[in-house]
Assembly symmetry: C2
Homo-oligomer: 212 residues x 2
């Protein structure tokens, strides 16, 4: 298993930045969607959560709420409930492609929205707070980068955000600790990788305009 | 000036992670609001922008648009326009505290929304894209961390997002390259620091709930 120093060595050989482990880590981060059953070490989980908590927030608000799900039966129940609720929805042409895909997969059966990762972190924030989404995204990005540096696989999970207005899902999550005034902003699957590391993917979008 | 290795040494002495430069960088990042007049080196700008472009995006959409403003007269004109437009607005009790503060400061005069940083990066994304804000926030967080690793000061700037619906501001930004179908999601002030580095600030919010 590589650590951040070995990661940096790996990247230096693949066109990474010769001088900067931090930027190399950003290039090395890839979404992982296949995990080992084994749980991630507690010390890695704690390091990842702490990294997330250190993300910036608007006016130093620090109002994210991280709900860390590691209980197998709770995760199984949530997975089945997500499938059930998506399966009741009808496709609307204006829908985002990934929401359509979730509905279609759920109607077909066997939909696994979090890739059966051993850990799922739900990130919520205050409903009436204008920076809820952006603060949560910074926190999630920190967690993804910290996971990368520790050789833990991760993938952003958006399904619980899409289902935030769903009564059954909310009731379930509120029993687990979601506040009544909180909204789900995103989620993160975490686990030991069951796939080979991939090389950095070149960026062709995210265009730049210079006004010098 | 420290680089990422010196930064890591600094953090190790301040309760940082003994083993991981990447997590230390997240702890070391602090908002900087006072900058030197001197421009940042082009190679640092390029490294920061590249780091941003490597942020994850929903479905690998890569639809952020980075508008890099370094032209002094354009920045001065934009600063004055932002002040003018905020000064026309009336305070509403339901408004976010920082928007209220911007309006009050603008009515008073001399409001400098981007701390006269030599570089202001405006981050926009597609208006009809559901992950516009979260993708942009991940990109901004990568840029802030890369800047920290290069000893460049940075601060998230939200004012142009708040004014995204303002006709005068949109006309100005569209002349600079903002697309008609794009919405401003955030911004970043970048410059050489004119303040001493601060120690990491302990996190007391961003609470965690465990379901094990």
């Amino acid at each position: 298993m590589y650590n951040y120093q070995q990661l940096n060595q790996f990247l230096k050989g693949k066109g990474g930045n010769k001088m900067n482990d931090i930027i190399n880590c950003m290039k090395a981060r890839r979404s992982v969607r296949k995990f080992m059953d084994q749980q991630i070490p507690d010390q890695d989980l704690e390091a990842i959560l702490e990294a997330g908590r250190y993300a910036p927030s608007g006016g130093n608000n620090q109002s994210c709420h991280l709900i860390v799900l590691q209980n197998k039966s709770v995760l199984k129940e949530l997975k089945e409930l997500v499938e059930l609720e998506f399966s009741k929805m009808e496709i609307d042409e204006g829908m985002y492609k990934s929401i359509k895909a979730s509905i279609l997969a759920s109607k077909k059966g066997g939909y696994d929205f979090y890739y059966s990762a051993p850990t799922l972190v739900v990130v919520a924030n205050q409903q009436d707070y204008g920076n809820a989404l952006t603060d949560s995204a910074c926190l999630l990005e920190n967690m993804m980068l910290a996971a990368t540096s520790l050789n833990i696989g991760s993938c952003w999970i958006n399904q619980l955000r899409w289902l935030d207005g769903n009564k059954e899902i909310r009731t379930f999550l509120e029993k687990l600790g979601l506040g009544e005034n909180e909204t789900v902003c995103g989620g993160l699957a975490l686990g030991l990788k069951a796939v080979k590391d991939q090389e950095p993917l070149k960026r062709t979008g995210n265009q730049i305009t210079y006004v010098k």
